[in-house]
Amino acid sequence: MKLLLHLNGKALSADFTNAEGQAVLTSESTRHAAYFSEPQPGFFTVILAGKVYTCALEKLPNGATEVMVNGQRIPVTIQDPKRLSHNAAAAGQAGGRAVLTSPMPGKIVRVLCAAGDEVTEGQGLVVIEAMKMQNEVQAPKAGKVVELKVTAGQTVNAGEILAVVE
C-alpha cells in the first residue's frame, strides 16, 4: 500500500507490503526487503540484509507513534487526518500568546501568581509535585497572566493547560 511518511525531518512517499514474513518497503525508487516478525505484541524483529533490528512500537498519549529501534527512539508520522489534527492541537505557542502546560502529571502545590499579574520571563508561576519532586513552571516570556486555570491542591495531567501569558 502507498503511504506518506514523516520521520527525522524527512518526508517521503513509500510503498509497503508484507507477506509470509517478508516485508518490502519501496521509497524514492529504492527497494528495501526484510524478514519481518512480531514475536510479542508490539515488539518486532526486522532483519535487513542480515542485520537485526529489534523494534518496539510506542503510541504516545497524543496519538503520535514512536518506534524504538535497537534503543534509538524514532518518531514516525503516517498520513492520517486524525493524527495530524492531534499534532496541530499539541503545538501550544501562538503568536504573542504563551500557553503554559504541565510538563508532567502531578499535584499543584503552590500558585505563585494571580490572573492579571505582570510577570517577567523565567518567573516562577506554578509549582507542581509528583513522585516527591517539586517542579517550578516558569513564564516562557514577559507579559501579563491573562488566564490562570489551576488552584493549589488540584491534580493535573501532563500537557494540561496551567496558565496563559500574553
Binding site: 527525522n8 508490539g42 535487513l48 527512539r73
Partner: protein, 503 residues
C-alpha cells in the same frame, strides 16, 4: 531468629527484603495502600494488610496502622526499608514499645545521627573532619542570609531531617537564597514532615564516597569498604560503584576507621552508612550518617559477598557478628544504575504511568532488583525508582561492559526511564576513566549540548527503514478491512506465516 517479619515499605526495597526473608526462612508480611493493591511486593509476600489511601501521609507514614498490622499478623519484627519511617526515632520507639523488634539501630542512635545537626557534633567528638558550616536549623531567610555570609558563598541548603537529596539546594548568591530557602523547606516538609533546613559550605568538585558499616548489639563494629556515589542528579545518586574508581586502599583504611569511630561514638548497631565528601586532594569530610539500609547496598554485597539485608535482620535478632574486619575481602567491581521513571530528555521530569511492555536483563554478572512488572501502573505518589540494576565483573571495565549489555537488554515501554541516559553516560570518556565528582552530570549535559547537531542525511538509515516498516505495518492493520482489502489479505497471510514459523 524471627518466624515472621513485617516490611513497612513498598516497591523494589519491599521486594528486596521479602527475598532476604525467604533466604532466612522467615515469612514476609507486607502492608499496602490503595495505589499498591496490585503491587509486586503484595504478590510476593505471604501476608498483606491494607493500611490506607495512596498518599504516604495516610498509609506508609502512619506508624500506628503499620504496628497494628504487625500485631494482627503475629510478626515479631518490623523492617522499615529506606525512606518513609526508616529514620524516625518515634517510630523505632513505638515499635519497641509494642513489644516488637525494630530492624535497624536504637531510637537513641537514630535521634543522634538521624538529625544531621546532632550528627555533625557527634562526628566532631569522634575526631572526624566535617564540612565547614553551622549545624543550626535556620529560623528564617534572614538567618539563612546571615549564616551564608559567615560560611561564605557558595553554600548548600540541606533538610535537617532529610536524605536522598530531597530539600537540598546549592545557593551561589544572596539573590538566590529566598526562593531556594522556601523550596528546600517545602520539599523537606513534603518528604519528611519537617521543614527544618541548615547551611554548610559547598565544596567544589567533591566526590561523594560513603563507608558501609555493620555493627552488632554486642559492640562489634566493622566496615565493608566504600561506595563511590558521585554521579548525582538533583543531589540524588543515580550511578554507584564499589569500590571507588580511586580504589585507594590507604584512603579506604583511613575513612573506614573514621566511620567505625563515628558509629561507635553513636553506640550504633545494625547496618548503616557514613557519607563523606572527598576533595581533589583526597581530604575527606563527614557529611552525614544514614541510619538505615541504602538503595545502593547491592554493589557492596556483590564485591564482599555479604548479604547486608540478611545481616541486618540477624543483628536485629541479636546475632553476634561472626566476620572480623580482617576477614572482609573486596573482590572484583560492581556498578549500580537506578532505573527511574523519569524523562532524561526533559531534565529528569517524573514519568509515572502504565508499563505497557517490560523486558528485563539477565545472565552472567547481572542483578535486577525490580519492584514492577509488565502491566503495572507506576503511581505518582511515591519515589520514581522502579528498579536498581547492578552488574558485577572481575574488573571495573568488565562491570561497566556488563552494565551496558544489561541496559541494552532492558526495555520499559509506556513510560520514560533513565535507561537511555545511562547508556550514554557509561560510554562517556570521563566516566570510563573514573574522573568523576558530584558535578559530573551537569558538565556532561553541557558537553552534550555543545556537540554539533548531526546533519539530516537524505538517505534512510537501516534503523529508519525498520521504524517505517513497523509503523506502516501497524498503520495498515488498523485500517478497516474494506479500506485496503488487498493489503489486509496480505496481513492475514503474514499472520499465517508468522503462525507457521512457530511450528
Amino acid at each position: 531468629m524471627f518466624q515472621k517479619l513485617l516490611i513497612a515499605n513498598r516497591g523494589e526495597i519491599a521486594v528486596r527484603i521479602i527475598r532476604a526473608c525467604r533466604d532466612l526462612g522467615i515469612s514476609p508480611v507486607v502492608v499496602y495502600s490503595t495505589a499498591d493493591r496490585q503491587a509486586l511486593h503484595v504478590q510476593l509476600a505471604d501476608e498483606a494488610y491494607f493500611i490506607g489511601e495512596a498518599p504516604a501521609a495516610e498509609s506508609y507514614l502512619v506508624g500506628e496502622k503499620i504496628i497494628a498490622a504487625a500485631q494482627q499478623s503475629g510478626a515479631e519484627a518490623i523492617h522499615p526499608g529506606y525512606g518513609f519511617l526508616s529514620e524516625r526515632e518515634w517510630f523505632a520507639r513505638a515499635v519497641e514499645d509494642a513489644g516488637l523488634t525494630f530492624v535497624g539501630p536504637s531510637p537513641y542512635s537514630i535521634a543522634l545521627m538521624g538529625s544531621k545537626t546532632n550528627a555533625r557534633e557527634a562526628a566532631l567528638k569522634a575526631g572526624a573532619p566535617i564540612v565547614p558550616g553551622t549545624a543550626n536549623k535556620l529560623a528564617d531567610t534572614a538567618e539563612a542570609w546571615q549564616t551564608a555570609v559567615e560560611v561564605g558563598y557558595p553554600v548548600m541548603l540541606k533538610a535537617a531531617a532529610g536524605g536522598g537529596g530531597k530539600g537540598m539546594r546549592i545557593v551561589r548568591s544572596a539573590e538566590e537564597m529566598k526562593s531556594a530557602f522556601e523550596t528546600a523547606s517545602a520539599e523537606a516538609q513534603a518528604a519528611f514532615g519537617d521543614p527544618s533546613v541548615y547551611i554548610e559550605k559547598y565544596i567544589e568538585r567533591p566526590r561523594h564516597i560513603e563507608i558501609q558499616i555493620v555493627a552488632d548489639k554486642h559492640g562489634n563494629t566493622i566496615h565493608l569498604g566504600e561506595r563511590e556515589c558521585s554521579i548525582q542528579r538533583r543531589h540524588q545518586k543515580v550511578i554507584e560503584e564499589c569500590p571507588s574508581p580511586l580504589n585507594d586502599s590507604v584512603l579506604r583504611a583511613k575513612m573506614g576507621e573514621a566511620a567505625v569511630n563515628i558509629a561507635q561514638a553513636a553506640h550504633y548497631y545494625s547496618v548503616g552508612t557514613i557519607e563523606f565528601l572527598v576533595d581533589v586532594q583526597r581530604n575527606f569530610y563527614f557529611l552525614e550518617m544514614n541510619t538505615r539500609l541504602q538503595v545502593e547496598h547491592p554493589v557492596t554485597e556483590l564485591v564482599t559477598g555479604i548479604d547486608l539485608v540478611q545481616a541486618q535482620i540477624r543483628i536485629a535478632a541479636g546475632a553476634v557478628l561472626t566476620i572480623k574486619q580482617e576477614d572482609v575481602q573486596m573482590l572484583g567491581h560492581a556498578v549500580e544504575c537506578r532505573v527511574y521513571a523519569e524523562d532524561p530528555e526533559k531534565n529528569f521530569l517524573p514519568s509515572p504511568g502504565k508499563i505497557t511492555k517490560l523486558r528485563t536483563p539477565s545472565g552472567p554478572g547481572v542483578r535486577d532488583d525490580s519492584g514492577v512488572y509488565e502491566g503495572w501502573e507506576v503511581p505518582l505518589f511515591y519515589d520514581p525508582m522502579i528498579s536498581k540494576l547492578a552488574t558485577y565483573g572481575a574488573t571495573r571495565e568488565e562491570a561497566i561492559n556488563r552494565m551496558q549489555r544489561a541496559l541494552r537488554e532492558y526495555y520499559v515501554g509506556g513510560i520514560r526511564t533513565t535507561i537511555p541516559f545511562f547508556q550514554e553516560v557509561l560510554d562517556d570518556a570521563d566516566f570510563r576513566s573514573g574522573e568523576i565528582d558530584t558535578g559530573f552530570i551537569a558538565r556532561y549535559f553541557e558537553r552534550k549540548a555543545a556537540l554539533p547537531k548531526a546533519a539530516v542525511s537524505p538517505e534512510l538509515s537501516n534503523e529508519e527503514i525498520a521504524a517505517v516498516m513497523v509503523a506502516a505495518y501497524d498503520f495498515a492493520r488498523q485500517q478497516p478491512a474494506a479500506a485496503t482489502t488487498q493489503a489486509v489479505s496480505k496481513w492475514k497471510a503474514a499472520g499465517r506465516s508468522a503462525a507457521f514459523t512457530n511450528r
